[in-house]
Symmetry: C2
Subunit: 322 residues, 2 copies
């Protein structure tokens, strides 16, 4: 995490108060134990994946969408993080990815079979944790998100290298593969946190934020710098992922359509995308989604402190890419 | 399914009465719809996998372990079948398997990404279906089984080609990768079917049956014939799977230890294993587990019809390999 993002999370934590800090701590405790007792190898791989951390952004969304404390919130936070991790572990197998967040992946450490089984275990644990709340509605929300994640992943692979991906199709993919779990996180927080009436509205907040998050992630792939992203510029493009910056840029620079397949030219491709102004345009779209997300919050009658914390998280998603 | 096994299932169905037939029909209906609405590609792959059928042995175990009808039994039957299918789809990816039950696998039809995502979807749906019962205990049982399946699969791959696998370690693997879901199926039937007090005993019945099932499956790999199993003799051995017939045979024929790695000699290897009497010995062990399973039933005070049906299923597992 960059220093800026770290500071931003600090601001969110401060706005969320002791309550948020406690919930996050309990989430970490539970994540540290949830993979125990599944055999040495699986527990080691799954435990290592969870311990590698990350921003815990999805659990934060669960907690900030709640209006009062409830033990089931921790189960929900743990479940969304486990589901997120399960998909990352399986994606790394499919991509043959050796590193994630600067650490060796389960695939790198244990091979395909171990990583597939570790992902399966994390999937099971996600649903088992959430089912412990006794809420069918919650499990249904997680299952809907899980299905969307799988569809989004497939859509991305189906569209690899395609020259026909429209911005609309790209945005649909963002909704499926990223925003669906953001949405579910907010819904779960509302349901367990005493405001099931706000599940739809807070879900919409999460969805918009998730789309913005994915667009900005795709901007960062092109803009770098590598020391910040931990991977070379254009890494996703060179894997064939057709992102918004590329889609917008090739409208004005047709050379880009063919060039992306030539791995040696990654920096050139990124520079030419930047030269079209597509990064700025994509970023503007993301900011539009963030603004929409914040308006969703404005329309709700939430206590000031809680509304502020949600707006700060939305700003944090942008800040991460500033 | 062989004609013998078909006939045996007919006998079980007759013993289970109209009630069992109805539950199985509702399970098929639900399985046919459970994969709808997840995007064309995923729904097609997942639906095709489920429609390819199989014996539905695990749902049958759920239903026969119940002492009275209950809607939650269908959810449990669907869940155990979905979990079973999820693991098969992921195993096929890892094995690069093109055919299963004579049909192209999801891996063959859609590639690694599609098959991984399809397995993930089936995992999610399994837990979502079961969670709809509102029973935390049931979801925990499924999650325990899911974890065991993953461990068993990893253990099998870790032991590939190993010359040090003891019969005890082999049996532990059978318990994890096969018997755990048989056990969970029986437990779920007992819990939802009005006899939670019998969950432990019926779970033990299922576990013993599952171990026998796996041993007999491994015997069949060596004995064939291919027209019955749908794969060449020794296919599992040539994949490096160390099964009980091989473990027992190489005690008396050390030549077998080295020979298995030579793919051309599959038939020779199978014949030499058979010549040691190891197939008979392995089969005897399986029959011992079946007898134990049936004794578990004898010790319970079940209505005659239900006890008979459970014994018939146990015999059916043997019959399948007669």
């Amino acid at each position: 995490m960059s220093n800026t993002a770290q500071a931003q999370l600090g601001t969110v934590l401060a706005a969320g108060g002791q309550e948020l800090a406690d919930l996050l701590e309990r989430t970490e405790d539970r994540l540290a134990r949830v993979t125990d007792g599944h055999g040495d190898e699986l527990s080691r791989h799954a435990g290592g994946t969870l311990a590698a951390g990350g921003k815990r952004l999805r659990p934060v969304l669960v907690f900030l969408s709640a209006q009062r404390p409830d033990d089931r919130l921790v189960a929900a936070g743990v479940a969304v993080e486990l589901l997120h991790m399960a998909t990352l572990v399986h994606d790394d197998v499919l991509d043959g990815a050796e590193l994630r967040r600067g650490r060796p992946t389960v695939f790198a450490n244990g091979g395909r079979a171990a990583a597939t089984a570790t992902g399966d275990l994390l999937f099971s644990r996600a649903f088992a944790e959430l089912a412990a709340t006794g809420s069918e509605e919650a499990v249904r929300a997680l299952s809907t998100a899980s299905s969307a994640l799988a569809r989004g992943e497939l859509m991305q692979r189906a569209d690899a290298w395609s020259e026909d991906v429209t911005p609309g199709r790209y945005l649909e993919r963002c909704r499926l593969k990223t925003a669906s779990l953001f949405e579910a996180s907010c819904r779960l927080g509302a349901v367990f946190g005493g405001r099931p009436d706000l599940a739809g509205a807070l879900g919409a907040f999460g969805e918009r934020l998730g789309v913005a998050f994915q667009i900005l992630d795709d901007v960062l792939d092109v803009s770098g710098p590598p020391e910040r992203t931990g991977k070379p510029r254009g890494a996703d493009l060179l894997d064939g992922t057709v992102t918004l910056p590329l889609i917008l840029a090739r409208e004005s620079d047709p050379w880009l359509s063919g060039a992306v397949r030539c791995a040696e030219e990654a920096a050139t491709v990124c520079d030419r995308i930047a030269a079209t102004g597509a990064l700025h345009a994509a970023r503007e779209q993301a900011l539009g989604y963030v603004a929409e997300a914040k308006r969703t919050v404005d329309d709700l009658e939430l206590p000031d402190q809680r509304a502020n914390a949600l707006r700060l998280v939305a700003d944090g998603v942008v800040e991460r890419y500033a």
